[in-house]
């Protein structure tokens, strides 16, 4: 049975789409059959981050409304052949995303893949609640910053009340993915530390993705960061997180970029 995973956060701009693409690609590289689904109707971006923006013909709403079947809408990744994308609609009204329609599409996807990863829109409106509705696993993407932590807390409350799992008396597995983390600033006392965020949100930690220029470079090129430079710090963080999702025990750390002598000298001074 497929795992249905929602990548969510409440707040926008914390790295949901980047994380969806990176985790999806990492799981697919490990041989899993993965589909990443964009739920952000009207503001789709997963296609762009995955480098598939010119290959979109049909989208989620076309499938929901029966204008296209799933096989017509799914876009197979050119780099990893077990990875697929189901894009959101950019032009249709988001009211066309109905609960019944989403239920049907999710049922079909569960039969075709090992992982169905739903990229949630920001906010707590219908798009976000539909993205989390079928999930049995949630990755809550959070920046070490007050507004992001507050919104994550709100989203955790919704995961415990507005998902099918929660409504039927069950529990959804929740994980914290801390992104844009800067060890030096946290040590200096100018950024919330990992333990601070964990204590406040009290859900288990899936991974710590360090702030890195490699994330922007990868999105510039339309490549999930785990595929663009597998040795970079964020790529290693996401790969480790993907392995933890698959149930492997991977020691937790904050990966850092290799630095030359000069880089080491400057980062010590900053600390």
């Amino acid at each position: 049975m497929a795992e249905v995973l929602v990548v969510t956060s409440g707040k926008g701009g914390v790295g949901k789409t980047t994380s969806t693409a990176a985790l999806g690609a990492a799981l697919a590289q490990a041989g899993q059959r993965v589909v990443v689904v964009d739920f952000d109707v009207g503001l789709r971006n997963l296609d762009l981050v995955m480098g598939a923006e010119r290959r979109v013909v049909y989208d989620l709403i076309n499938v929901v409304q029966g204008d296209a079947n799933l096989n017509q809408a799914l876009i197979r990744d050119k780099r990893v052949d077990t990875l697929c994308l189901l894009p959101a609609s950019q032009t249709r009204d988001k009211d066309n995303l109905t609960q019944d329609g989403v239920d049907r599409v999710m049922d079909q996807l569960r039969g075709m893949f090992d992982w169905v990863i739903c990229d949630s829109p920001a906010g707590i409106e219908r798009g976000a609640t539909l993205a989390m509705r079928h999930a049995n696993v949630a990755v809550v993407v959070t920046n070490p910053e007050v507004s992001s932590v507050r919104d994550s807390d709100r989203i955790i409350g919704l995961l415990d009340s507005k998902t099918l799992r929660a409504e039927s008396g069950g529990r959804i597995e929740k994980h914290l993915l801390l992104t844009r983390y800067d060890t030096v600033r946290a040590e200096r006392g100018d950024m919330l530390k990992v333990d601070d965020v964990l204590e406040i949100l009290s859900i288990p930690l899936l991974g710590i993705v360090p702030e890195s220029p490699e994330v922007l470079r990868a999105s510039n090129l339309g490549t999930p960061v785990t595929l663009s430079d597998a040795t970079s710090a964020p790529a290693r963080a996401y790969s480790d997180a993907a392995r933890r999702l698959m149930g492997q025990a991977v020691p937790m750390n904050v990966p850092s970029d290799k630095k030359g002598l000069l880089g080491k000298f400057f980062s010590r001074r900053a600390a």
Partner: protein
């Protein structure tokens, strides 16, 4: 301000942590509470509707939380002729 403080800016993360802890304790409470209020309201409505036909906006439930005590205010408005019938009943 000591000379040390002059050169070393005070760290800000502890303030972020403390503000979040206070705020979220409050917000979690409030969200849980609003659920309780709506559940109470529904159940009170159901009980009254068993005996008297009643309009939904005639029942108002309000919860007020203070440091020492919390109060639950239930305001039920009955139509005049129904109020008489209810007493007779």
């Amino acid at each position: 301000m000591s000379l040390f403080n002059f050169f070393q800016k005070r760290t800000t993360a502890p303030a972020a942590r403390e503000r979040l802890q206070i705020l979220l304790a409050h917000e979690r409470n409030e969200i849980g509470q609003s659920d309780l209020v709506s559940v109470l309201r529904e159940e009170i409505l159901a009980v009254i509707a068993k005996h008297v036909p009643i309009n939904r906006d005639m029942v108002k439930v309000k919860m007020d939380k203070r440091e020492q005590v919390s109060t639950l205010e239930v305001d039920i408005e009955l139509p005049r002729q129904m109020a008489g019938a209810a007493v007779a009943h």
